[in-house]
């Protein structure tokens, strides 16, 4: 596959453990945030989103936490599985000149070991 995540920070976890992936965003005016998962050779896939009027949102095995005070976002994955191995990106929605656009963070590669 392609070298997605080759130079990104890596989080290594054991199968079954919980994973926490962190992200710092830049724009205090951003009001919507999304986590994406990107497997090698594929485009990013939506995982979970959160609006700025919330500080926590839960999905299936995933939880996103938002701390607007320090502009920090985290993705928690419960009972991590080998299929969770991928690169994870946070993205923030910025509104500029009447246009909405998604700006992506640097990304973290999650490596799940049996």
């Amino acid at each position: 596959g392609e070298s997605v995540g080759l130079h990104l920070p890596t989080l290594s976890v054991q199968e079954g453990d919980n994973s926490i992936i962190n992200c710092a965003y830049s724009n205090s005016a951003s009001d919507y945030f999304i986590w994406y998962k990107q497997e090698s050779g594929k485009g990013p896939q939506f995982i979970i989103d959160i609006r700025s009027n919330m500080d926590k949102r839960q999905g299936q095995r995933v939880t996103v936490l938002l701390n607007k005070t320090v502009k920090h976002l985290s993705l928690q994955i419960a009972a991590t599985q080998p299929g969770d191995s991928a690169v994870y990106f946070c993205a923030e929605k910025e509104a500029e000149g009447g246009y909405n656009k998604l700006i992506f963070g640097a990304g973290t590669r999650l490596a799940v070991h049996p």
Partner: protein, 114 residues
């Protein structure tokens, strides 16, 4: 959900040539975007593709190098002009689906410039 088809999925091109990437969405969408993902890095927004008018480019990207068309709501093209090895990258089309507000991505077009 939406299915976004990009072609070509990959290509090897000679320096100085141009390549046009096509993006077709199977759902009604509002906004379409083009991103670049260089090896091992995150996604960088190139431009917002506007239907029937000139695209809105991000800082560092210009129309002469990356001309974009969007003749209708569900189709867009990105041309990488006068290519150099530095243009070797994955180019991703994305679209904002009307009904869900989710941003979906194509699988990407992997360009190698020799």
């Amino acid at each position: 959900s939406a299915v976004i088809s990009q072609k070509p999925s990959r290509d090897i091109c000679q320096r100085g040539t141009s390549l046009t990437i096509q993006c077709q969405v199977d759902s009604q969408v509002t906004m379409m975007f083009w991103y670049r993902q260089q090896p091992g890095q995150s996604l960088t927004l190139i431009a917002t593709a506007n239907q029937g008018s000139e695209a809105t480019y991000e800082s560092g990207f210009v129309i002469d190098k990356f001309p974009i068309s969007r003749p209708n709501l569900t189709f867009s093209t990105l041309t990488v002009s006068n290519m150099s090895p530095e243009d070797s990258s994955i180019y991703l089309c994305s679209a904002l689906v009307i009904w869900t507000g989710e941003l979906f991505f194509g699988e990407g077009s992997r360009l190698t410039v020799l």
